[in-house]
């Protein structure tokens, strides 16, 4: 069964909160090294879909597969906990509001999970923290607390924290939406660097220019379905669906 699945594969994903259906039978596959952008207005289900991939928002129907293993397996509670913690170690996630641990320095934020879950020694962990924070350009702030950092710096530390677990896949949930405009580029720069290293990424974003320049494929979601998908060169310049055109037009107006 390993051969039959793509690197990331979502099959008939369905999610409802009570009577509200937020994901309606969505299927999606992502190849290794691919960068997929998801755009759409708020409430379209794009964040829910992203959060279903590491089971942060469990699906009510359908399957999620990562590298040949089903993420949302039906297991006993205890077994499932073990399984999902294993799976999540392979998936890095970056949040809109950073969610750095405020009582830990940048170094501690980055090393906490690898030390706990991979048994790294303090020396190994320090080396890892220096590597990862250097990668996002935050090495000189290694012993700063989040409260001493700007939004862009916090988000870069958050990316380093996720990368420190050596994930196979990175999920970005509106990573720059909470940032002041002048801080967006420093985070985008880090994400571009990851793209150059062929990290597989799924990016939920409001930034069309960034999506257009980085993504191999872009999905437009509306009301719980994928309305249209394709390479950014086509989707942004020549959308086939009315809803996509409408969204892009509104977005363009908003940007002006």
């Amino acid at each position: 069964m390993t051969d039959q699945t793509n690197f990331v594969e979502i099959r008939h994903a369905q999610k409802s909160f009570g009577t509200l259906e937020v994901l309606k039978d969505i299927s999606l596959s992502v190849e290794r090294g691919q960068i997929v952008g998801i755009i759409g207005s708020s409430g379209s289900g794009k964040s829910t879909l992203l959060r279903a991939i590491n089971d942060l928002d469990p699906l009510t129907g359908g399957e999620v597969w990562l590298d040949g293993v089903q993420v949302n397996q039906a297991l006993s509670h205890r077994q499932y906990e073990k399984h999902i913690n294993q799976m999540r170690q392979q998936v890095g996630m970056v949040f809109q509001h950073f969610n750095l641990f405020p009582h830990m320095t940048a170094r501690e934020n980055v090393t906490m999970a690898p030390k706990m879950l991979k048994g790294l020694s303090q020396a190994e962990a320090d080396k890892l923290a220096e590597e990862q924070l250097d990668k996002v350009g935050m090495l000189e702030r290694i012993d700063y607390y989040p409260s001493q950092l700007s939004g862009g710096q916090k988000q870069r530390v958050a990316i380093a924290r996720a990368l420190a677990m050596k994930p196979k896949l990175m999920l970005f949930d509106e990573a720059t939406s909470a940032l002041d405009p002048e801080l967006v580029e420093e985070v985008n720069h880090v994400m571009r660097k990851l793209a150059e290293e062929h990290m597989t990424m799924i990016i939920v974003t409001h930034e069309m220019d960034f999506a257009a320049s980085v993504c191999d494929r872009v999905l437009f979601m509306d009301q719980g379905v994928v309305v249209e998908e394709g390479p950014p060169s086509l989707l942004f310049t020549n959308p086939t669906q009315t809803r996509t055109r409408e969204f892009l037009r509104k977005h363009l107006e908003g940007a002006k």
Binding site: N54, F95, F101, S147
Partner: protein, 218 residues
Amino acid sequence: MGLDFSVIPKYIDIILLGCAWTIGITVAAAILSFAGGIVFAVIALYAPWLIRQPFRFFEWLFMGTPLLLQLFLIYFGLVQIGIDLPAFVAGIIGLGLHFAVYNSELIQTAILSVDKGQMEAARTLGLSRTEALRKVVVPQAVRAVIPPIGNNMIALLKDSALVSVIGVSELTLSAQRAIGATYRPFEFYLLAAACYYVINLAMEWVQRKIERRISISR
């Protein structure tokens, strides 16, 4: 006869020994109440129903009955079922558990007020819920409740006088003993009050130190 503080030097060693007992019992009970408060808070919020329900009763028992009665129960009551604790141990357990329940209330509220993104971030890294609570959520909650817990600890110091009734020679009982020998209640009670005041100041100082060390701002 007016006030005559010249009797004090002769009994100062009894009073100082009493101070030492009061400090010792307060510190031990404070540590117990703090550690217990964290454990109780986690039980109250996350334990399965079968554990949570008996725990509620236990909580009610410690919040809804007088501390004095609880000390009697632990010291005199437990003997009947074969648990014979030294008086000071009974005092520490009684004070510690009593204030653990109050601390637990504070810590529960603080745990619930930690942003849920913190738990999510920890879980996405692969930590289990227990690990995330231990490393991420509880440490933040505890930092947030240091000031109100400090208030509880000052109440604990004052209530430590109650363990005199089970025969622990702490400050209040020591003062009473000195009074028994000298018939000078005003002088020795004033002295004891002054001692409590100084210990209190010391505790506030320690609390400020701790707060400064571990305080965080988002």
